[in-house]
Amino acid sequence: MAMNDIGMSLLVLLFSSMLSAHSTIASHRSQTDHFHEEVIFKSVADAKVYSYFQFTTLWNNSFETDRFDHCRLFPRSLAEIIHTFDVQELHISLTEGHWRHRYWGYPIIEASPGAEIWVWFGKNNKGKDDIDRRWKGLTSTLSGLLCTSFNFINSANSVRPKFSFRPLGVDSSAEEGSEGNDDNERVRYAVLPREIVCTENLTPWKKMLPCDSTKGLASLLNARFIHNTNYHSIGAHYRQMCLDAECTDTKIEFKQTVSLVYDLVLLGGRADEWSIRKLFGTGLFSYCPLATTSNIYVDVSDNNIELNKQPDSTHTAQIGGNHIKYAIYDVHRHASSTAGFNLVAKIRSTSSSMSPMRHSSPLLHVNRYIREYGKENGGIVVKIYNNHRKPLVVTYFENIPWFVPIYYHTLKIRRIDNGEEIKPLAKRYAPGSTRTRPYYLEVVLRVPGRSVVELSVDFDYTFLKWQEYPPDANHGFYVGSAVVSAALPYARNYRSLPASVSLLQDIFNATWPSNSFVVQMRTESFILGLPTPDFSMPYNVICLACTVVALAFGPLHNITTKRLRLASHSAKGKWKAFVVSKIAKIFGRSAPNDAASCSDSVPDSSVNTEATKL
């Protein structure tokens, strides 16, 4: 037995050393793919902690998609899908909860509640129908890959936004300029607001990571803890980027992200203290051996956070006149300890009189709700708050399901304080069509400085076919969030990366294109109570119909099975016949027929009829 064991372990040792030798050879040969794992922690207003995980795979692979055949760090399953459907850019997010910009600032990656997907397809296409076919195929495949309901995406809930979703990476067709105005032909956007995100989505998502969730920062992503947050969003983002400044060649970037917002009040204990163990239920025991960098960043810009361990380094990033200071921990150095790396942060309150809800409002935030009174007509209202002193150009993109028919002519844009009408800079609208196409509305407008602009559009309530109502019809119908995009002049509450940068560690020497910080806020989604029939009605109708049938049956049966016979109506005859029939009854015999026998026509008034059984 012992010998056997030793033999086995020898074999394993030999095999693993062979494997590692092979992998070193492979990496020597290409040396073109790298994996980075990073996480940021930031305390935000109302006792919340925002943590953002980013797992990035960079691969110096060019556009020629046939080279996806051999994957080392890049998930092979996804590579095949990207190759098959000729995807140029892919952005998926699965989110629970709504990001509250007013209190939490801007997230690094935005996501709308539910499942959201937007895709740019490669330029090699044979027109709109081809793209539609690929879109259907892609979403169906992804739904299998991520255990989501992406297979419910069809023409009835996908749109082609013109302004809001431009490629974030390299777009080859843009240079050629051949497609001109139709360049939104290749983009598809869809959102499933009712999607519930849970462990079943997290597990396949983790499988795309090179180290799975056994090692590295991903080992912190324990479903029991991360689904206990106020906001959680997992994402997968694929794009093609320039390899160098001249952009002679391209590389591939695949980012897997997790955004979490923890509520310290709900976690229990002190509301001004958090630690890795408190947030994730475990310390960090290991790093991913495949990762080039594994870093933890803690936002210490406000100088009010006290950390229990001295950071390896502290860096300050200059973003649009804003200083962001990060304490950086290299997981390679800390995670090897047997006790596990636990970081404890205490938030010092700057002054006791300050309310915990204090926050600096972001430059731009939105509030969307429905105007409803009765089940007759309603409206969608979006209030856009511009806290900047100068006007901002904002793009508003709305994707409304076909069962909420909006009226384009009721689109009103006005300043709230003085009621002044605002003329949009550009408008695009595609009316929806029942069961086949959603309503698409995109408006570009200039929001004056220090003002609130209200954009509203009216809609009707429609009746659906009775089979189209879900089992919980009275719960209401989900309408996904709208997207508000703008380029902000400076970076208050801003944390995203510029388009040219992939990694968080590169933020310190990144250059921003002429102080424009792009935000793409997702507004609130809402549920709409459509007029719903009383579904207990069929039961009532069945009862009623049966009763009516039962009641009608008796007389009909009588009429059809009994013969009408005239009875004599003279007073004299009456009592005579009566007596005779009585006597006959006593003797158990039927009464003898009267002279007047069965007659077809009933003569005028005062005719008595008598029915006897045939």
Partner: protein, 630 residues
């Protein structure tokens, strides 16, 4: 089972029967209707309440709330703070308080432009805090509201309720299980504040444009599923009273009402309806007790005025009730602990809701806290009384086709009624309805022109318009119309009135029923021709203004029985002025229909009948026969 058609059917005998006995049948119908309604309060005619919505799962969880001392401390703090603002709401203090509890909190301002007096404005503000549910994207919400009453308010204090709300907010904020946002709403100026907040939340203007100007809400939550309004008058309460009646007689879904009662019983808190608890047993006293409860509900519903802030939620499809805690004198009673447990149970139940309230009844009467009468049982009683009007109109119409001896007029002379005066009848109906429709705008116009105070000038202008319209119609009808046949006018009046009453009662049964009780008998009494002078005088007493006055007078006598007759008369006139001004304002601010319906339906019909009485008839004999029948 008989045949579908009866060849022996002798139309003439039935018609003769109807014509001969209709007055007696009518009176019998009205009598039966009232008896029916009274019987409904008995246990044998009403049903026990039950839950239709299983998702509520009432009382399945063990309560955790135990913040008694916290609430007591908050109450002391709030009392101190309230003393600093004798006339207004300490809105910023309340907002900061919410924020200390880690809640988003905002202030909303609103302005009421007095619709009766130009340039008279009232301002107020509401404060609301939103507890964001950790697991949802703010798609659904529940509301807990407290009307803030400053120390100078004439109503009993609600500060203990506010303290309870804060302690609940603190407790709720620490719980993980919320699936719906909870909005804590503190409103000023009673119903005005709630109206302004709801209008702003739903982006609509329920009243007249420009009357209630509401400020913007900075943040919204999702669609509101249910609301509870909290009026706790003392830290120690004797019982919890559940108030339902909403605007225009709307009531919340019965499931919500049942839920409140069920949770109260579970927590051992005495729960009542119109301050009457439920009694059991088949004795006469039990029936009497329940009948009184039911009649109180009918009375309060008939006014169309909500008896609490919950009443304004209903029109937005939000089920809402008011939970009123009455102060306990002496020892014992329930403390914040018990009330907190009740509210915790309520909110946790509501949190379980998967769909909007839709399962249980939206139309019902309650004879006690645990029994209900569904619409299927009470509507027939009203229909019976209203059918009397239809029967009378049918009989009047039949009479037109009959000879004096009750025989049917021969076929060839079927169009015997030579002249039905269709044009004049149309003109009369048009003019009376015009008066009904324009009396309110005219009153509102006049009130701004007349020199007296708005209440006085409102009453005077209504009286003036009523007197003038009645006089003009009387003179025109008696002097300037030819002698003729006015049966058509009578039939139209009766049919219209009956139809209106049925329609109104579909919306507000109680109002419809009260109006029917008052008007059915006198309108049956009026005949198509030769109405004598005493009928006219009696009918004069049924002018809507007169009826309102008599009701006020009765109420004044009932309330101030120690006053002399003269004082009572003066007092009742004053009360009448108040009442009319209040009704007009309610109609314009909240969109209350009661006064509008009184004007448009009842006043018009009254005027139509009035002109009928003054019409000069040619067929004396019909009238005489009619009198005999009466």
């Amino acid at each position: 089972m008989g045949l579908l058609t009866d060849p022996t059917n002798d139309e003439n005998t039935k018609k003769t029967f109807i014509v001969k006995y209709h007055s007696k049948i009518c009176i019998l119908m009205v009598f039966c209707s009232v008896t029916w309604l009274c019987f409904l309060a008995h246990d044998n005619f009403s049903a026990g309440t039950y839950f239709s919505e299983n998702a509520l799962l009432p009382g399945l969880v063990q309560g955790d709330y135990s913040e008694e001392s916290e609430a007591q401390a908050l109450y002391a703090e709030i009392q101190d703070e309230a003393q600093k603002y004798p006339y207004s709401i300490p809105d910023e203090w309340i907002r900061d308080k919410f924020q200390e509890l880690y809640l988003e909190a905002y202030i909303q301002n609103f302005t009421l432009n007095n619709p009766l007096k130009e340039k008279l404005k009232f301002v107020g503000s509401n404060v609301y805090g939103i507890l964001r549910a950790p697991r949802s994207a703010s798609l659904e919400a529940l509301v807990l509201s407290v009307p803030y009453r400053s120390p100078s308010s004439v109503y009993p204090s609600t500060l203990p309720g506010l303290a309870l709300m804060f302690s609940l907010a603190k407790f709720f904020r620490r719980q993980k299980y919320w699936a719906k946002d909870i909005i804590f709403l503190v409103t000023e100026h009673e119903q005005l504040g709630v109206q302004a907040w709801l209008d702003a939340y739903h982006g609509t203007m329920s009243g007249m444009k420009g009357v209630l100007e509401y400020g913007l809400l900075e943040e919204h939550s999702g669609s509101i599923q249910a609301a509870l309004n909290l009026e706790v008058h003392s830290p120690r309460i004797s019982h919890i009273d559940v108030k339902l009646a909403g605007l225009n007689g709307q009531v919340p879904n019965l499931d919500l009402v049942n839920l409140v009662h069920r949770i109260c019983s579970k927590e051992g808190v005495l729960n009542t309806f119109f301050n009457k608890d439920s009694k059991r047993g088949a004795r006469f006293s039990t029936w009497n007790h329940k009948l009184r409860t039911m009649l109180e509900m009918i009375g309060s519903q008939a006014t169309g005025v909500p008896d609490g802030n919950h009443g304004l939620f209903h029109r937005f499809g939000i089920e809402a009730v008011t939970i009123e805690g009455h102060s306990k004198v002496g020892r014992g009673g329930h403390t914040f602990y018990h009330m907190g447990r009740v509210l915790e149970g309520l909110f946790r139940s509501l949190n379980n809701l998967l769909e909007r309230f839709h399962q249980s009844y939206f139309f019902y009467l309650l004879p006690s806290t645990d029994r209900y009468i569904s619409i299927g049982y009470y509507m027939p009683s009203l229909a019976l009384a209203v059918s009397a009007l239809y029967l009378k109109s049918f009989a009047t119409w039949l009479k037109l086709h009959m000879n004096d001896d009750g025989k049917k007029i021969k076929k060839k002379s079927l169009k015997a009624p030579k002249n039905l005066n269709i044009m004049i009848v149309s003109a009369i109906m048009l003019s009376t309805h015009a008066v009904g429709a324009f009396i309110m705008p005219a009153g509102n116009y006049l009130v701004k022109k007349l020199p007296w105070s708005s209440e006085v000038s409102l009453l005077y202008s209504y009286i003036a318009i009523s007197v003038i319209s009645a006089l003009v119609l009387a003179v025109v009808m008696s002097k300037y119309t030819r002698k003729g046949n006015w049966i058509l006018l009578n039939v139209v009046c009766l049919n219209e009135f009956a139809t209106f009453l049925l329609c109104v009662s579909m919306h507000n049964f109680s109002f419809g029923f009260v109006a029917t009780l008052i008007y059915v008998l006198p309108s049956l009494w009026i005949s198509a021709a030769n109405n004598r002078w005493y009928k006219k005088i009696v009918w004069l007493f049924f002018h809507p203004l007169a009826v309102i006055y008599f009701l006020t007078l009765g109420f004044t006598v009932y309330t101030f029985d120690e006053l002399t007759i003269k004082e009572i008369l003066l007092k009742s006139i004053e009360a009448m002025q108040h009442l009319i001004a209040l009704n007009v304002t309610d109609a314009m601010v909240y969109g209350n229909w009661t006064f509008v319906v009184i004007n448009v339906v009842i006043l018009s019909t009254w005027l139509s009948f009035w002109s009928l009485m003054f019409a000069s008839s040619e067929e004396r004999d019909v009238g005489v026969e009619k009198e005999k029948a009466e």
